[in-house]
Symmetry: C2
Subunit: 133 residues, 2 copies
């Protein structure tokens, strides 16, 4: 099938498939006589794997490692799990960071009356000393 079909079946856009090829995440596709890329079911499966992994927030680099592990019949599941756990830790870190931000923001907005008067605790605190969120 052509790249458009592969895109539809995998959830990865044609543009992005070409991009993944260009950075070496996926191997170069074979070509038709006229130069169109050709894809098979196996390729679509790989693209779907990538799509799912990206949806779970794995970096493209991590996805590369996951693909290697996936293709390697002799991998230890511990290696996969370690990668996933480390990613979970990273996600947790981000959540915590965002949660702190939101708490501070909520605190600030609650103290701002939000009418047509100019005085605003939000701006005052942003200009002050003590914001570390």
């Amino acid at each position: 099938m052509n790249i458009g079909q592969a895109a539809n079946h995998s959830g990865v856009s044609a543009k992005t498939i070409r991009y993944y090829e260009s950075i070496g995440l996926i191997p170069e596709a074979s070509r038709t006589e006229s130069g169109y890329r050709r894809y098979g079911d196996k390729d679509v499966e790989t693209l779907r794997f990538i799509h799912h992994s990206r949806n779970l927030g794995f970096s493209v680099k991590d996805v590369g490692m996951l693909l290697d592990l996936w293709r390697n019949q002799k991998r230890a599941s511990a290696d996969v799990k370690a990668l996933a756990l480390s990613h979970i830790a990273e996600v947790d870190r981000k959540i915590e960071e965002l949660r702190k931000m939101r708490d501070t923001l909520t605190h600030l907005t609650q103290r701002c009356h939000g009418d047509d008067r100019p005085d605003c605790p939000i701006l005052e605190e942003l200009a002050g000393e003590t914001i570390d969120a």
Copy 2:
């Protein structure tokens, strides 16, 4: 003071101060005869404002708007509050997205025994149909 001092006092690195100037977030600094940028307490205050805003996750573009509001004595606090509330909504959206990711990831890793055997539900599910996190 020179840019290094301004950086130390504001928490914004010299490199980043120059960057902010280059994109117009802050006005061009005045210069000494030899070309060094000069900063005063007011400038440091502005940089600190920016630093705090960035720490709270506001985009540089939003920070530009906040700076305008801050400098405009006639602004309505409602405008500031609206910006902040909209940002909170965005932060909440991101938190929710990350939480979904983490839940799926946690689910996956729990089902992976994580030893030296090769079979791994994480990879199997990534290759499957049903991941939407």
